[in-house]
């Protein structure tokens, strides 16, 4: 188990075992907050922070905590970090905090975090757990932002609207109005849009994987033919 390489951990987290596209974990925040790209980014960063902190802590204490009480200890660790992050966001990104609202405390119930603590951090050294948390979180965040961007462009006709909530007043220029005078497409903003969008993203990932597999097969057969 401990022979797993950093490259493999990163590939797992970002692509092969992506939290949102492959494990399909953390659906509740994923579907609920991704009505805009900035919302997705905000929740994604909070999740990364919690995931990295909890993975490091769980890995540090993995030999100290006996297996009978590991689940309550992990939950305690995660809940403490989430509450700390929630307070910090309320203090430093107040507007964004108000938009994300209930979904910050709900990070506690994101199975991806407890899942990584149990499946990875409790069995691996600190460095690898850190990379695992970081890449799993990044993989999740990328999907949150992508899905948010898709829904925002289709639903509101803008991209990165309200960027100033996160990066301050100077970031207003990031906001792009994709379609002028766009009346909006309600379906994309409402929950069905989230399901359809996530479905499309999963399909896209499978398509890419299949394409890669085919190409690999083609090269192997070509090589075999060349050898023969």
């Amino acid at each position: 188990m401990s022979e797993i390489s950093y490259q493999q951990i990163s590939r797992d987290g970002l692509w092969q075992n992506n939290v949102a596209l492959v494990q399909i974990l953390g659906l509740c925040p994923l579907l609920a907050v991704t009505s805009t790209a900035i919302n997705g980014l905000g929740l994604g960063l909070a999740t990364i922070l919690v995931l990295v902190c909890s993975n490091i802590t769980v890995s540090l204490i993995r030999n100290l905590v006996r297996s009978e009480i590991r689940i309550p200890v992990f939950v305690l660790v995660i809940a403490s970090f989430v509450t700390a992050v929630e307070l910090a966001m309320n203090a430093f990104f107040h507007d964004l905090f108000k938009v994300l609202g209930i979904f910050i405390p709900l990070i506690v119930t994101n199975c991806a975090i407890l899942g990584r603590a149990e499946a990875f951090a409790s069995k691996n050294p600190v460095g690898k757990s850190f990379i695992d948390g970081l890449t799993m979180g990044l993989g999740f965040t990328v999907i949150l932002v992508l899905l948010g961007a898709m829904r925002e462009v289709i639903g509101f006709g803008t991209l990165f609207a309200q960027a100033h909530m996160m990066f301050g007043e100077t970031a207003r220029w990031i906001t792009i109005t994709v379609f002028e005078d766009y009346s909006g497409f309600l379906l994309a903003i409402l929950p069905p849009g989230a399901f359809i969008g996530l479905g499309l993203l999963i399909a896209l990932k499978n398509l890419v994987d299949q394409g890669a597999e085919k190409r690999q097969k083609a090269t192997t057969t070509a090589l075999q033919q060349a050898e023969a």
Binding site: E68, I69, V77, T83, L87, A91, H94, L186
Partner: protein, 215 residues
């Protein structure tokens, strides 16, 4: 599992609870002043959209009175009334009433009323109405809510305080009548409350809990 293992397990669990709680407590202590300041700024920002800062010289954030009136203010719990004064003279009151009968739960409002009973403005501060249909009540989505400015109980008459579909003079939205209907009714009721209690609301030295229940 032998009993001493249980004790050790419990001790470890207890230790983590203490450490976890400590972390949360420290963060809370560190961020509490900033959070309070943020909330103050956010509320002041909303209040100042209704009553401009140069119209009053008191601290509108602390000059409040809490009142309860479920029938007219739409909430069982206490409702804050922020009072704006200039040189001690009442200028306006901002009542944080709510519309209890929105399409999806209650809609929280800030209703700014000038001393003479005309509306300085209305803002929706919290709602769960359908995005794209009912959320036109937000000032940033449409200017519908600005249509209240300058109105009062006599302008229009009671029959006009309804959405157009019900024979009144306020617009509804395409696909959403319940939401604007609820807001119009809540604003009208807040105005009625203000008319009945104006003098008590501005009473001097009164900073907490006028418990006036009527109707």
């Amino acid at each position: 599992m032998p009993w001493h293992n249980m004790v050790i397990g419990a001790l470890i669990l207890g230790l983590f609870s203490v450490v976890g709680t400590g972390l949360v407590a420290l963060t809370f202590k560190g961020t509490a002043p900033r959070i309070a300041e943020n909330e103050r700024q956010a509320l002041l920002h909303s209040l100042h959209q209704l009553i401009s800062p140069d119209e009053h010289d008191n601290d509108i954030y602390t000059d409040i009175v809490t009142v309860t009136n479920k029938a007219l203010l739409g909430s069982k719990s206490g409702v804050n009334v922020y009072r704006a004064r200039m040189g001690g003279q009442p200028v306006a009151a901002v009542i944080a009433s709510s519309a209890p009968d929105g399409y999806n739960g209650s809609i929280k409002l800030l209703v700014g009323i000038r001393y003479d009973g005309t509306l300085a403005g209305v803002r929706v501060i919290n709602h769960r109405e359908t995005p794209g249909l009912g959320d036109g009540i937000e000032a940033k989505r449409s200017d519908w809510v600005l249509g209240f400015n300058g109105h009062s109980l006599i302008n229009p008459e009671a029959t006009g305080w309804k959405v157009k579909k019900d024979g009144g003079q306020f617009d509804q939205f395409t696909g959403a009548t319940i939401t604007p209907r609820a807001v119009v009714k809540a604003v009208y009721n807040t105005l009625r409350y203000y008319q009945q209690h104006r003098e008590t609301l501005f009473a001097d030295g009164l900073t907490d809990s006028v418990d006036v229940e009527s109707e």
